[in-house]
């Protein structure tokens, strides 16, 4: 099945792929069977797993896995082979710096002023002293990086994650985080700058950014995913578990980040819970 996807000539491959996915989505095996109430342990497991669309998700997992095997993983391996580690780190830092508007917006929507402050300082320091974001000087100066996206923001607002989803291209997610991903793209000014045929420079920038982001992210988890595929009996279930736990941990860290907003030079309150 994996090679069959790519027998089609590359030009209209994307269109064919989308059509193929649409057909698969319609013809999918449907829902996971809910265990009967007479087996409470199995039912508890089923509810905890919260993956009612498991058969569908597994199909997309197989498709993604195939795409990954023939495109993304080789690209990430080539990237690691061709580009030395310090350059890769520099590129990663530049990409992260370009993501500042989205991160800052989420920090503010989360009502976390210290995080918004960290993001702002990081942008100012890394764009100047860090030479357009290549060097992460800010972390050394006490402004560490943190995660922020619209899925986490909505989690803080009380939006439940919903059932587990495995989407084509996007990978493991849930309705809340998938919607959050869309909103992140929508609030990103770079999504809207210079669109259209009159701005080839901006289009090139946007596509290079998307491509590099994907390859950079994949390269960073090469060893981890290889190790999981080697050691897990059911890699799909393992990725599902890891995705959920990782998201919960990110959201928990966000929730507990309640650093005081009193400036350093101001007389500090009795117990400053600076992290």
């Amino acid at each position: 099945m994996r090679p069959a996807l790519f027998v089609t000539p590359a030009k209209r491959g994307a269109a064919h792929l989308l059509m193929y996915l649409a057909i698969v989505a319609v013809a999918l095996p449907g829902c996971a069977t809910r265990p009967p109430a007479s087996d409470p342990d199995a039912l508890a497991d089923y509810q905890q797993t919260d993956d009612p669309l498991e058969p569908t998700n597994r199909v997309f997992y197989a498709i993604n896995n195939g795409l990954d095997t023939v495109i993304l993983r080789p690209a990430a391996l080539a990237y690691r082979y061709a580009v030395p580690a310090p350059v890769r780190d520099g590129l990663h830092n530049v990409l992260s710096n370009i993501g500042t508007p989205v991160k800052l917006t989420n920090d503010i929507l989360e009502g976390k002023p210290r995080r918004a402050g960290d993001t702002t300082m990081r942008f100012l320091i890394n764009t100047t002293a860090g030479v357009l974001g290549i060097f992460d000087v800010a972390t050394k100066l006490g402004y560490p990086d943190h995660d922020a996206d619209f899925g986490m923001t909505m989690a803080l607002w009380g939006v439940p994650e919903g059932p587990f989803l495995f989407l084509p291209v996007l990978g493991p997610t849930d309705p809340r985080d998938a919607a959050g991903f869309g909103l992140d793209v929508a609030i990103d000014p770079f999504t809207w700058i210079g669109t259209g045929p009159n701005h080839p420079g901006w289009s090139a920038f946007t596509y290079s950014r998307y491509g590099l982001t994907a390859v950079d992210a994949r390269e960073r988890v090469l060893d981890a995913t290889d190790s999981i595929k080697k050691t897990a009996l059911d890699p799909y279930a393992t990725f599902r578990s890891l995705y959920r736990q990782h998201r919960h941990a990110q959201i928990e860290t966000l929730r507990n980040d309640n650093r005081a907003t009193v400036p350093v030079w101001f007389p500090q309150p009795a117990a400053a819970p600076a992290k």
Partner: protein, 199 residues
């Protein structure tokens, strides 16, 4: 007056004593994690061959990790359904799988260092935070969950960036079993294949 003072002292003591005991327990647990971590690092960064590293790792795991407790946890509800013979075969294999997985995860690394972080008490267990650093990698937050911190400390779980190793393993096994008619022998067979490949 005297009675009241005595009462206050007693009350204060009764509050303070368990607190002190807790503090002592977490301190002991932290010292335990430090010594285990140092031994693990010595094996990982050591010059030995792959086989020697595996042997070193096995030694650390056997003395410092509650392999049986983790094994039972990972089998979840199926532990009670398993026959004593299945339980025994499962635990033997689980021990090997654990050694193989940990060795393969840590084995390729060189120049690993770790720093101790804060420690806290959590339902009779101690959670010790550490930060593990590798060259060319962002530092990873690793929390160690220690059972019986004051009497007989053992590692019962490791959380890497908030993801629990034993919970992930349990959900992996549970899914495998559900897709193989809840057949524990099928799981044991799969684990056997896995350990044979891992060697």
């Amino acid at each position: 007056m005297i009675n009241r003072r005595h009462f206050l002292i007693l009350a204060a003591a009764s509050v303070a004593a368990p607190l002190a005991a807790h503090a002592q327990a977490t301190e002991k647990a932290a010292a335990f994690v430090k010594s285990t971590g140092d031994r693990l690092i010595a094996v990982v960064n050591g010059p030995g061959s792959a086989a020697a590293k595996r042997a070193g790792m096995t030694q650390v795991i056997d003395t410092d990790v509650d392999v049986e407790g983790i094994g039972r946890f990972c089998l979840g509800r199926f532990w009670r359904q398993a026959s004593p013979d299945q339980q025994k075969r499962y635990l033997d294999l689980f021990h090997q799988v654990l050694v193989t997985n940990i060795t393969s995860k840590l084995g390729e690394y060189q120049g690993v260092t770790f720093t101790m972080g804060r420690s806290k008490e959590q339902d009779d267990q101690a959670v010790i935070s550490t930060t593990v650093s590798r060259p060319n990698n962002a530092p990873t937050a690793v929390d160690w969950v220690i059972s019986n911190p004051s009497s007989n400390p053992k590692i019962v779980d490791v959380l890497a960036e908030g993801t629990s190793l034993r919970l992930t393993q349990r959900q992996d096994y549970a899914s495998y079993l559900v897709h193989n008619n809840n057949n524990i022998d099928a799981l044991i067979a799969a684990m056997k294949t896995q350990t044979e490949q891992g060697k």
